[in-house]
Amino acid sequence: MKVKLVYFAWVRERIDKPEEEIELPDAVVTAGDLLRHLKTLGDGYEAALQYPEVIRVAVNQEHVDHDEPIAGAREIGIFPPMTGG
């Protein structure tokens, strides 16, 4: 599955790009699987996703839990806890 990933705040800074399109292996089923897969792609990803439990994931611009499937996602946002307001 090919998907667009968009990164924000310190996740974006550590991966060192705002977005990319990547091909996902079939074994990546859930949002948590995606984070574990990305973590293997290099030092920047490793630094950004060192503590995956704090990372938030949004599929097609809606929050999802890490155990939710990402099948059919067009765009997946990956970012730290939010600090607006």
């Binding site: 949004a58 929050h63 970012f79 730290p80 939010m82 600090t83 607006g84 307001g85």
Partner: protein
């Protein structure tokens, strides 16, 4: 029919009275208007500016989801939520929530609810720029904000 919220994500400043006037224009059913505005503070002079990053599209969508929950839960007559992005100096506005209802309690609760969820679920992030010219890094999320949100469950 449920009220339709006004949601804006913008770089430019907003004006409280203008937004209140827009919300209540032509309405005779509103008895209470609660306005919350969040400003950038300088933390004792150490902060030069906040840089607000957001997820374009999702920021508006999430603010709308939160606003619609508040309208349904508190039977609000009207709701406006505006969040700024970009570099914001101490003393400047960051966020505005206006809740309107028949009676005051729903408007107080509605504004409070929207802010609690906006802080924990709307995709915005603050980066500090310090007065000494350095970057203070990204603001950390606070447990107190999660607790404030959880009181509505």
């Amino acid at each position: 029919m449920a009220a339709s919220p006004t949601i804006r994500v913008q770089n430019e400043d907003f004006h409280l009275q203008t937004e209140i006037d827009r919300l209540v224009a032509g309405r005779t059913d509103i008895g209470a208007v609660v306005t919350f505005s969040g400003l950038c503070r300088d933390d004792g002079g150490s902060l030069n500016a906040l840089e607000l990053e957001h997820y374009p599209g999702m920021a508006e969508a999430e603010m709308r989801r939160i606003a619609e929950l508040a309208i349904a839960r508190f039977s609000l007559q009207g709701l406006t939520a505006i969040h700024r992005f970009g570099k914001i100096a101490p003393g400047e506005n960051i966020v505005l929530v206006i809740a309107a209802s028949r009676h005051r309690q729903a408007a107080f609760d509605g504004a409070n609810f929207v802010m609690d969820f906006l802080k924990t679920a709307a995709p915005f992030w603050k980066k500090e720029h310090l007065a000494d010219g350095s970057t203070g890094g990204w603001v950390s999320a606070k447990d107190a904000d999660d607790k404030a949100r959880d009181k509505w469950r």
